[in-house]
Symmetry: C2
Subunit: 111 residues, 2 copies
DNA sequence: TCAATATATTCCAATTTTGGAATATGTCAA
DNA sequence: TTGACATATTCCAAAATTGGAATATATTGA
């Protein structure tokens, strides 16, 4: 009975700046590993490892094309993050509501 | 000359599920540390440490109120993440565009 | 089949992260 | 002041993460 390492989740996936860099590189379409390596000041094995993490966290998918593996963003996962952050929208709006209220109040009026 | 540990950024801040749990607990308003401890199956020192990381990553702010430190979400940072994920919106929409096109095509029609 | 190309995996050392226990610091109330 | 309460910090061991080098695997073309 082995303790399995759980797959990294969405949030772990984007925690690393290099992984976000990869996602940003994939924003314009699918890319092979070497194309990413060329753009990234990281050796190929390191890039492949980050890609594995991105894949395990659901953030990218792969497609085989000859000897190449073409990676692409799996935006559905990013959408989940989008939805999560969106629940805080009320809070960043709240701030402006308070400001509005203040500006409309006697103390807030331009003297 | 010491190597300073850089502050964790926004994305590292939300990478940990416990820290996201804290943010979610703060969604309804500011809370003292013990209130968070009571809700969280983590000892007080551990909660304080996660709060420090959240603070350093800009995700929360603190206010002193007597012996308490009241933490609150600093939604502006989450908004940045919201904006970042939003740049991928084109991709998740793309998928639906393709689906729409498929459904509208002869192959996509219900047989 | 063999060599070249594209990518993944293994092994390793360095670094980082984490929680808990113990302890320190700060604040209030009597 | 003193004690109680709220929170932060330090120290420590365990676990996780990371990149590089070396190596393995898969695919294509000659």
């Amino acid at each position: 009975m082995v303790a399995l390492r759980p797959h990294p989740d969405l949030y772990v996936g984007v925690a690393d700046p290099r992984r976000r860099a990869i996602l940003d590189l994939l924003l314009t379409g699918e890319r092979g590993v070497n194309a990413l390596v060329d753009a990234m000041d990281l050796r190929q094995p390191a890039v492949s490892k980050q890609l594995r993490i991105l894949k395990e966290s659901g953030l990218v998918s792969v497609r085989k094309a000859g000897r190449q593996r073409l990676y692409r963003v799996n935006a559905g996962e990013l959408r989940k993050m989008y939805e999560w952050t969106k629940t805080y929208e009320q809070i960043w709006n709240e701030r402006f509501d308070k400001l509005d209220a203040y500006l409309a109040s006697p103390e807030g009026e331009t003297k």
